[in-house]
């Protein structure tokens, strides 16, 4: 018998409830600024880690309503201000969910940029239409009123919390957990023993859906488990 069908999932209570939190961010304007790709590369090497966070993880939250065509600020700038579609594609393919450390993410972005500038030296020095201004985020984590200890309550919370809460638990979580996972999958796995549901949630593609659509997909998986 599959572990997904052990007992009555709907009524089963977890030992630890799921605490739905949400994170709010205040944007700080950084010191680094780039007028071309070479300057972007240099600034990206030197900027604080919270700037890397802002322009990758956090920008996904800011633009959660865009279904496709937006991945991170560096890729968007390479396309819209530098007219370098090949570089933009490569930067856009850097998936934040493959990283549990901002330094690793930074190095990955730097590698892509350095390689491109090395092979396209004219592109590196060409002035962009607009400068890239590095920013960073100050984070404040807040509780919500949703603290479910059943799958039914969990699904209800998923439906009712803000998109920021979904982002906090589903995307930012891996930096906190240092795992290639997310808070929802971890809770389903550890508290409800729902391995398949946990895996299915972790496989959701965040780059081809709006965050609202991601929420619906998560709710769907949990409801099927209920």
């Amino acid at each position: 018998m599959s572990e997904e069908h052990v007992g009555d999932n709907q009524a089963r209570k977890s030992k630890k409830p799921f605490y739905f939190n949400t994170s709010e961010h205040l944007l700080r304007i950084g010191r680094e600024k780039a007028a071309n790709l070479s300057e972007l590369l240099e600034a990206l090497r030197q900027c604080p880690a919270d700037s890397v966070f802002q322009h990758t993880f956090r920008t996904l939250q800011e633009h959660h309503f865009i279904r496709r065509g937006f991945s991170n600020d560096f890729a968007h700038w390479a396309l819209s201000a530098c007219n370098e579609p090949a570089l933009a594609e490569r930067l856009a393919s850097v998936d934040v969910r493959e990283f549990t450390s901002l330094e690793d993410l930074r190095q990955s972005l730097v590698r892509v940029l350095a390689d491109y500038v090395e092979h396209n030296p004219n592109a590196g020095a060409r002035n962009a239409d607009e400068s890239f201004y590095f920013c960073a985020a100050d984070i404040v984590v807040l509780p919500t009123s949703f603290v479910p200890d059943t799958l039914r309550g969990f699904a209800d919370g998923l439906r009712r919390v803000s998109i920021h809460s979904i982002h906090h638990h589903f995307i930012e979580a891996r930096l906190r957990l240092k795992l290639m996972s997310n808070d929802f999958s971890q809770w389903l796995l550890e508290e409800m023993n729902l391995t398949e549901a946990a895996r299915a949630i972790n496989r959701i593609d965040i780059y081809t859906s709006t965050m609202e659509n991601v929420r619906q997909q998560i709710v769907g998986i949990v409801e099927r488990a209920v």
Binding site: R28, E62, I66, S80, Y133, C135, V140, V141, L142, L175
Partner: protein
């Protein structure tokens, strides 16, 4: 009565419609709208009675309960704390308009917020107006006498005002030197700069900079407006109130009534630019782009603005606009008084797409308003507009008359793409540019400065 006469508050309805040549349907007094639509539209020739501020719960349908809860959670930790906002005018201008909405909102959240306005003579406000222009790049010769006037009035206000609040926010350069009062208090002091400091007059900036550096933080409206400073700098986007006359939802009958009033034909595509008659908004460029586009697509252009009746330069620009429009019957030029927020709202809602072809721009709140109404928007990549328009995702950015014309043609012939831009644009505003988000930013900043809550990066 000339149909070209610019509108003034006592003018008749027909006089509000200003076209370059007699247009049969506008040259004469328009037919009176039906009784139903007359009831829906107010008399826009006189200022409306100010509405009481909205309550927080009124925003629930717009931002959702969860976002409202976040605001209340943030405010809960600040209960009992006090905040003071200081600016230079109680009425008129974007800062006063914003504070009129923000202060009641924070007060309802039980963060006691005081709002003080500095006083000064004409000489002070002449100096600060010159500073304002100089800080945005205009040439200016700073004299010792001017510095003395600026400091004298700031000191006069320091003696008059008290700063016992936990957080003191000084808006713009006029009261910037009040920060010298901070030595007497344990408050946090923040400078909120609403103007573009990217290319300031060096003399004026060098004079103000030592005062700015005494603050705990500075806030700018766009990354590109900021200066390098030794204090933290935050980004607070300007915002709109979705429940204001300018932005609230309107009944279809109201939209129709306003269009009837101004003889805008809703059965044909409407391209709209809302802006005062100012060369920085490139109204002539808009007409040129429209005329290029009209060779390929059927559409009409509405240029709705103001500033021509009380500003000689505005009147001159209006004449240039009329000359550029020539005898084109599809160009409707409206010179409206400043209180016509409801009429602008209706025109924005009636439009098929919105253009903001500015040459120089602050943040560009008319773009925010258009995006909020879900309108596909074409705008120049200047000032704060690129913060709002993510090219081909929340609107389109253009750099020339020809580019603007092409995008008008493209969006009018690709309605699905235009619709998606409009939908994304509205979500972008909902996420970043609403008054509730502004209130949230103030609460976050207050908490971060207080050290009440600040979560380290994961």
């Amino acid at each position: 009565m000339s149909p070209q006469k610019a509108m003034n508050p006592s003018a008749s309805i027909a006089e509000t419609i200003s076209s370059s040549t007699p247009r049969p349907k506008t040259a004469l007094a328009p037919e009176k709208p039906s009784m139903e639509s007359r009831q829906a539209v107010r008399d826009f020739r006189t200022p409306p009675v100010p509405q009481p501020p909205a309550r927080l719960d009124d925003y629930q349908e717009i931002i959702g309960q969860s976002n409202l809860d976040s605001l209340r959670f943030l405010a809960r930790d600040l209960k009992g704390k006090t905040l003071k906002m200081v600016n230079s005018t109680a009425v008129g201008g974007g800062v006063a308009e914003m504070l009129n909405c923000l202060v009641p909102m924070l007060t309802e959240l039980e963060v006691t917020t005081h709002w003080d306005v500095i006083t000064g003579g004409n000489d002070f406000f002449e100096v600060t107006k010159a500073f304002h222009n100089a800080l945005q790049g205009s040439p200016y010769q700073l004299t010792k006498h001017v510095q003395e006037i600026f400091l004298m009035y700031n000191e006069q206000n320091m003696r008059r005002m008290q700063f016992g609040e936990d957080l003191v926010v000084i808006h713009d350069p006029q009261p910037a030197a009040l920060v010298q009062s901070r030595k007497d208090s344990a408050s946090h002091w923040v400078w909120r700069c609403h103007i573009d400091l990217s290319h300031p007059n060096p003399q004026v900036w060098d004079f103000l900079r030592p005062y700015i550096e005494q603050y705990d933080a500075a806030i700018f409206s766009s990354q590109s407006f900021a200066r390098q400073l030794p204090i933290p700098q935050y980004l607070f986007y300007p915002c709109i109130d979705p429940l204001s006359e300018k932005n609230k939802e309107l009944d279809e009958s109201m939209v129709q009534a306003v269009c009837d009033e101004f003889q805008v034909n809703r059965s044909r595509p409407i391209v709209l630019q809302v802006s005062r008659f100012d060369r920085a908004k490139d109204p002539v460029g808009v007409i040129q782009a429209f005329k290029l586009a009209k060779k390929y697509v059927d559409c009409q252009l509405v240029m709705a603005g103001g500033g021509a009746s009380d500003d000689p330069e505005g009147a001159a620009v209006l004449q240039e606009v009329k000359a550029a429009a020539g005898d084109d019957p599809d160009i409707i030029i409206l010179d409206l008084p400043p209180w016509c927020a409801l009429e602008i709202n209706a025109l924005q809602r009636a439009s098929t797409l919105v253009v903001q072809k500015s040459i120089k721009e602050g943040f560009g709140l008319t773009v925010t308003e258009a995006l909020w109404k879900g309108k596909p928007t074409i705008a120049s990549a200047v000032g704060g507009i690129p913060n709002q328009i993510i090219h081909k995702l929340t609107g389109v950015l253009v750099h020339s008359v020809e580019g603007c014309a092409y995008q008008i043609r493209y969006l009018l012939t690709h309605p699905d793409f235009a619709k998606r831009l409009g939908e994304n644009g509205r979500e972008h505003v909902k996420e970043n540019f609403l008054m509730t988000t502004n209130a949230k930013r103030w609460l976050l900043l207050f908490q971060i400065l207080n050290g009440t809550r600040a979560t380290p990066l994961p």
